[in-house]
């Protein structure tokens, strides 16, 4: 696949620049990926200011830890996305937001869901919200919990009262569906 090897070559050059401590390359990485990362962070924390702080923090981490990135274990983007997601999850945990959500009963959760959904709607993300929202409820639920709220699959299985295996296959089904429809 020609495009795949192109992407690989491009990523490799970026990684080398980052690892060599070239701030120009950091700017380039930012230009290429900050919007995608910021979109995910915004969607996770629902707070623009906090999202900006997290993005900033994450990029400083990307810069400082570029040496520990190992291309044999995945793509640069995956690595950066997980740094962003982990930073956002840490913030959510320290705010107590996530634990609160986690402990609410199904009943309360049902009542709160529409409001939460409403808050999360942003004109910029409307396209993906459409796709994510258009998912079957059981898929949307699992994507929200694991991808956007940072639940571990164990936590998600407890939260949803489902066996671990089901959580995993559902997550896979949901992501496969998105893979086809984005």
């Amino acid at each position: 696949m020609n495009t795949a090897s192109n992407i690989q070559a491009k990523e490799e050059a970026l990684v080398q620049g980052l690892q060599a401590g070239d701030t120009g390359v950091l700017k380039r990485v930012y230009t290429l990926y900050s919007a995608a990362l910021f979109g995910v962070i915004t969607r996770m924390v629902n707070d623009d200011h906090l999202a900006e702080d997290i993005l900033q923090e994450a990029f400083v981490k990307i810069w400082n830890n570029a040496g520990s990135y190992d291309k044999t274990k995945g793509r640069l983007f995956t690595w950066m996305l997980n740094i962003c997601r982990n930073s956002a999850i840490d913030k959510l945990r320290s705010k107590g937001q996530r634990t609160a959500q986690k402990t609410v009963s199904d009943e309360t959760k049902l009542r709160e869901d529409p409001k939460e959904t409403y808050d999360a709607i942003k004109p910029e993300t409307i396209g993906v919200r459409d796709v994510v929202n258009a998912l079957k409820p059981e898929w949307k639920e699992i994507i929200d919990l694991i991808y956007f709220q940072g639940f571990t699959h164990v936590e998600a299985s407890e939260e949803l009262g489902l066996p671990l295996g089901t959580v995993k296959t559902r997550l896979r089904s949901a992501l496969c569906y998105l893979r086809e429809h984005i």
């Binding site: 795949a4 690892q19 060599a20 401590g21 070239d22 701030t23 950091l26 700017k27 930012y30 900050s34 919007a35 995608a36 990362l37 910021f38 979109g39 995910v40 915004t42 969607r43 999202a51 900006e52 993005l55 900033q56 990029f59 400083v60 810069w63 400082n64 570029a66 040496g67 044999t72 274990k73 995945g74 793509r75 983007f77 995956t78 996305l81 997980n82 997601r85 982990n86 942003k122 910029e124 993300t125 396209g127 993906v128 919200r129 796709v131 694991i146 991808y147 571990t152 699959h153 295996g165 959580v167 995993k168 296959t169 559902r170 997550l171 896979r172 992501l175 998105l178 893979r179 984005i182």
Partner: protein, 264 residues
């Protein structure tokens, strides 16, 4: 291992999302290394995760990049901590040596510049001194030339047979004094050279008198250091005398201030 079942279990998605424990991660990595199908599926999941993120892009505010750039520094040492394999260390040592050498060269260059700049400053000062000296010498030469020209003129007078040289001797007021007049009796042209007269006090000047039938006639004032000086035209004089008078001269000589006298 049944890779299809393995893939379908959803563990690869969790791997990409960073949701697995260290042991589980190692297992996935081993399987990916072993089974191309697992490797391909991982890549596909990663690509789809990137696409998903891209599709929900939100442009962050401009300041965020500025804030990030303020917090990061270009890291010279970064490469050092990354490449731990010995093969990579050698070029780095060379690089460091090169950096040391470059900084030493820079230092030497800066020191050299300072040294040469100071030298340059000195030379500039010396040049200015030389220029001053040169100007002074030129002035001196001009003076000497003028003096020489005058001497030549004086010599012409002295050597001219039409002129008679006449020495005036010192009087009791100044017994050692003497002066010489050169006089063209026919034409009346008259010169004096002070020769040996004491320097006059401030406000006084020597005056030459022609003695004509016992009457002193003003022949003009002169300076002691002026060499041969042209005086008034005098004819029919029997003698000459010099008195010290107020500067500019008098109409009648101050007789008790007569320094030298001589007869034709």
């Amino acid at each position: 291992m049944n890779t299809e079942e393995y893939i379908a279990s959803g563990i690869l998605e969790l791997y990409v999302l960073g949701e697995l424990s260290a042991a589980e991660r190692r297992e996935v990595e081993n399987n990916a290394a072993e089974y191309p199908a697992v490797r391909a599926e991982l890549q596909a999941i990663e690509a789809s995760m990137e696409k998903l993120a891209m599709s929900m892009s939100v442009e962050p505010p401009r300041e965020v990049l500025e804030q990030i750039m303020e917090k990061v520094e270009p890291k010279q040492g970064a490469a050092k901590t990354i490449h731990m394999d010995p093969a990579r260390k050698e070029p780095l040592r060379w690089l460091r040596t090169l950096a040391y050498a470059a900084s030493i060269l820079l230092f030497v260059s800066v020191a050299g510049n300072i040294y040469y700049y100071n030298n340059y400053k000195n030379v500039q000062g010396q040049l200015a001194d030389m220029q001053d000296q040169n100007q002074y010498m030129a002035g001196q030469v001009e003076k000497l030339q003028a003096g020489y020209g005058k001497l030549q003129n004086d010599m012409q007078v002295i050597a001219d047979p039409a002129f008679t040289a006449m020495t005036m001797r010192g009087l009791p007021i100044s017994p050692d004094a003497s002066s010489v007049v050169y006089w063209n009796k026919e034409e009346g042209s008259l010169y004096i050279i002070a020769n040996n007269l004491p320097a006059p006090v401030e406000g006084k000047q020597y005056q030459l008198w022609a003695l004509k039938d016992g009457v002193p006639v003003d022949a003009g004032v002169f300076d002691v250091d002026g060499g041969l000086q042209h005086m008034h035209t005098i004819t029919g004089a029997q003698g000459f005398a010099v008195t010290l008078e107020p500067a500019g001269g008098s109409t009648v000589p101050t007789l008790d201030q007569m320094y030298v006298i001589g007869n034709v």
